[in-house]
Structures are given as structure tokens and as C-alpha cells.
């Protein structure tokens, strides 16, 4: 089967570049899975986890918003505001960020804008934690 040329780029660096079989990512309209020979598509992404499958092996990334572009020649480009591979995520820091965001949201007097900012931060932290957990589970499964 045809492979997808897949790239994740953030303003700072290219996070990942490889040939994969499928890509699953969270768009504003819900989660989508892209298989080879998909028609060209542009979509807004929201914070969440991105999954790629490469020869039956799953790879997870945490994303915090951005764009998905599917091109004609089996090429997928993710332009993310920030992205991390599962093994790069610092669990302690993510938990801390979640705690901070939760606490901020619990406080009462908030303007709508501030609330949205903290909600987005919380969502980002949650996405990172989910991706990091997944990695730990996978390690458990493959252990003898």
C-alpha cells in the first residue's frame, strides 16, 4: 500500500518526518483519520493527541493547535503551534501545568478571554498527560 509522507513542523523545528500508513488527529470538527490517497484537505487543529501508524506500530504526539494540510501526492503536513513526541514529554511538568490551570479556572472573577486562555492551557496539559500515559502503558505491554 502507498505510504504517506508525513511531517510535523513547529515554528522552532521539525518535530517529526517519516513515511507512515495512517494519521489520526484532532480537528475542530472532531477526530479524523487520514489514509493514503486522501483528497486535499485543510483543517484547523485543536489541542489533543495525534497518532500515526507505521507498519503496525503506533506513535503518539501531543499537539496544541495548528493546521492540517493534506496534499495531492500522499503528503501530510502538520503545522503545529507546538508539538512533542510522547517520549519528550515531562510528566511532572505536565501535571503541574494541569494543576495550575485547574486552580486558575476555579477562581471566580474571570473575564471571558482569560477563561478561554486558561481553558486552552488546561486542554494542552491534558493532551500531554494523555499522550505521556499512553507511552507508559505501551512500555508495560511490551515488557516480558
Amino acid at each position: 500500500m502507498a505510504k504517506i509522507k508525513f511531517r510535523i513542523a513547529t515554528p522552532e523545528r521539525v518535530v517529526y518526518e517519516s513515511e507512515v500508513d495512517s494519521v489520526t488527529c484532532p480537528t475542530e470538527m472532531g477526530e479524523v483519520t487520514i489514509l493514503p490517497k486522501h483528497i486535499p484537505l485543510v483543517a484547523n487543529l485543536k489541542a489533543g493527541e495525534l497518532k500515526t501508524i507505521q507498519n503496525g506500530q503506533e506513535n503518539y504526539f501531543s499537539l496544541s493547535g495548528g493546521f492540517l494540510e493534506v496534499r495531492t501526492n500522499n503528503e501530510i503536513v502538520i503545522l503545529a503551534d507546538s508539538a512533542e513526541h510522547a517520549h519528550e514529554i515531562d510528566m511532572a511538568r505536565a501535571e503541574e501545568a494541569r494543576g495550575r490551570a485547574k486552580k486558575l479556572m476555579a477562581e471566580e472573577v474571570r473575564s471571558e478571554e482569560e477563561y478561554a486562555v486558561t481553558a486552552a492551557a488546561l486542554e494542552r496539559a491534558l493532551a500531554r498527560i494523555r499522550v505521556a500515559r499512553r507511552r507508559h502503558k505501551d512500555v508495560g505491554r511490551t515488557a516480558p
Binding site: 511531517r7 513542523a9 513547529t10 515554528p11 522552532e12 523545528r13 521539525v14 480537528t27 475542530e28 470538527m29 479524523v32 483528497i39 486535499p40 484537505l41 485543510v42 483543517a43 484547523n44 493546521f67 494540510e69 496534499r71 495531492t72 503536513v77 503545522l79 503551534d81
Partner: protein
């Protein structure tokens, strides 16, 4: 003929200067490597984002004219002011990098209409003063590598002032990093947004700006895109990102230029000091030899006189 001691003193002083310039060269070299890899890494994102916007705009219903809803595509031809974002270095010893930028600003046509400067970097203030332009905002430049998040305030400020309608155009002036030896002072139009040209290719003359509309049309025919949720939603999301990525890229380019220029300057200084030491040592030895010869001649003359 300078005395032996004078020459020796000069050699010593040049040697210690060389030590300093060599240390500065090493420091700049390591910063330069970091800055250069940052610049090349971020070019991918800037390029990809640029390609994306160029395929999205023609796909908008009604083409370019229809999206006046997005503040970034609005134009204010009646406005009186031109905004200039000036990216310079904090410190000196970078050769002509900063003065080249000042010359670049003078190239902007209609400089008689009021232009205002947004500065980034300490030298920018001096340049603004020399050009007798108003500084409307000053953003401090960090001496370390910055992440994309840190330029959001600057990007936000620029888009806010543009949307007040007081500015006809906003330009960004910086040094484009071509290679360690070559940096090009560059001027680029940030707003209103014009598509087409590749981001990381510098447009060094003003006439270059706005070229390449043909590319846009070509892309539109080639790619039939599907949008989720809708083209205008995507574009409203994407345009601020493009502006940010353009500014971020420019800052990285100017960082890489700064460190490269300083590294080269310091390397030249170290080499020049080496040459000078070589010359002085030669003179020193000549003077020393002359002295010995004279002394010997005197001694011999004295002996002959005694016999």
C-alpha cells in the same frame, strides 16, 4: 628607531588584545552555530505555512476581494503613516550590520510621509534618533535564543496598530542570513498581507515585494482543497500565525546574522593582531641584532685601540 622596551611593550599589549578577540570569536562561533541551526529549522515551518496560505487564499469564495473581513487583508490607502519594525543588535562589533539597516530605511519611497519606528534591539533606538523618526514602541531584545511564544506581544502589537487604520503599510527591516560571510539587509512588507513570494527568499528591493501573484493562481488551479470547518475560518486562524512566523523568522535571521558577523569580525581582528605581532617581532629582533652588532663593534674597536 624605537627602543627595544617600547616594542616589547607593544607586542605584549597586542597579544592580550588578541587573547580577548580570540575568546570573543569562540563565544560568537558557538552562538552562531546555535543561531544558524535555529534559523534553518524554523525555515521549514515558515515555508510550509506560506505554501498553505497561498493555496488557501485563491480557494476562498470570490477570491482575494471577498476576504476584507479579515483585518490583515484590509488596506488603508488613505492612511498617512508607514510603520517600520526595525530589528537590530544589542551590542556593537558587528561591522556594518546596523548602519546597513539605516541605509535600507532611507530607500523606502515617500519617506516624506510620516513614518514611525517600532524598535527591537538597543541599536535600533540610536538609528531611529539619527533618522529623526518617532519611536512608537520599543521591544527589548533578549541575548538568548527565543521561542516563538515570546514574540506574540510584538506580533499582537503590530496587528493591533495596523487595524486602527492609521498605517498604510507596515514593513520589517532586518538582516537576512545568507551564509556566515554574507548577510543581506532586507526590507519586507508585513501588512497588508500580500501572497506569492517565498518567505525565506529575501526580497532586497522594494520592487520585489508584491511579485509572484502568478504563483498563487497557478496553485489554485492545481489544488482543489477541501476545508474544515470553512475557508474563512481557516484563513482567520492562519493569517495571524503567518504574521507571527514572519516576525519570528526575521528575528532568527537577524540573530544568526549578528553572531556570524561578529564571529567574522573577531576572526579578522585576531588575524590582524597576529600579523601585527609578526611584524613587531621582526622589528624587535632586527633592533636587538643591531644593538649586539654595535656593541660587538665597540668592544672590538676598544681592543684594537689598546693593542
Amino acid at each position: 628607531m624605537p627602543s627595544l622596551r617600547d616594542i616589547k611593550r607593544r607586542i605584549k599589549s597586542i597579544q592580550s588584545t588578541r587573547k580577548i578577540t580570540r575568546a570573543m570569536q569562540m563565544v560568537s562561533a558557538s552562538k552562531m552555530r546555535k543561531a544558524q541551526s535555529a534559523v534553518t529549522n524554523s525555515r521549514t515551518y515558515a515555508d510550509l505555512a506560506w505554501e498553505l496560505i497561498n493555496s488557501v487564499i485563491p480557494a476562498m469564495p470570490g477570491g482575494r476581494q471577498a476576504q476584507v473581513t479579515s483585518g490583515f487583508l484590509q488596506t488603508f490607502p488613505e492612511a498617512e503613516k508607514i510603520g517600520i519594525v526595525l530589528l537590530t543588535t544589542n551590542r556593537g562589533l558587528v561591522g556594518s550590520l546596523n548602519s546597513n539597516l539605516a541605509a535600507k530605511i532611507k530607500e523606502i519611497p515617500n519617506s516624506e510621509i510620516i513614518s514611525e519606528i517600532i524598535t527591537y534591539g538597543k541599536n535600533a533606538r540610536t538609528i531611529a534618533g539619527r533618522l529623526q523618526k518617532n519611536v512608537v514602541a520599543d521591544f527589548p531584545k533578549m541575548d538568548r535564543m527565543i521561542s516563538a511564544v515570546e514574540i506574540y506581544p510584538l506580533a499582537r502589537y503590530i496587528s493591533d496598530i495596523y487595524q486602527t487604520g492609521e498605517y498604510q503599510k507596515i514593513f520589517i527591516v532586518y538582516n537576512h542570513f545568507v551564509s556566515t560571510l554574507i548577510q543581506k539587509s532586507t526590507i519586507k512588507q508585513l501588512l497588508p498581507f500580500i501572497g506569492g513570494r517565498n518567505l525565506t527568499r529575501p526580497s532586497t528591493t522594494l520592487s520585489d515585494i508584491g511579485e509572484g501573484r502568478g504563483e498563487v493562481i497557478y496553485n489554485a488551479i492545481q489544488n482543489e482543497y477541501l476545508f474544515e470547518p470553512a475557508p474563512d475560518r481557516v484563513i482567520n486562524h492562519l493569517l495571524p500565525r503567518i504574521i507571527e512566523s514572519q516576525i519570528y523568522q526575521a528575528i532568527l535571521e537577524s540573530d544568526a546574522s549578528e553572531h556570524s558577523a561578529r564571529m567574522v569580525m573577531m576572526k579578522n581582528a585576531t588575524e590582524a593582531a597576529g600579523d601585527l605581532i609578526f611584524d613587531l617581532t621582526l622589528t624587535y629582533n632586527q633592533v636587538r641584532q643591531n644593538k649586539i652588532t654595535t656593541e660587538l663593534a665597540e668592544i672590538t674597536a676598544g681592543r684594537i685601540a689598546l693593542e
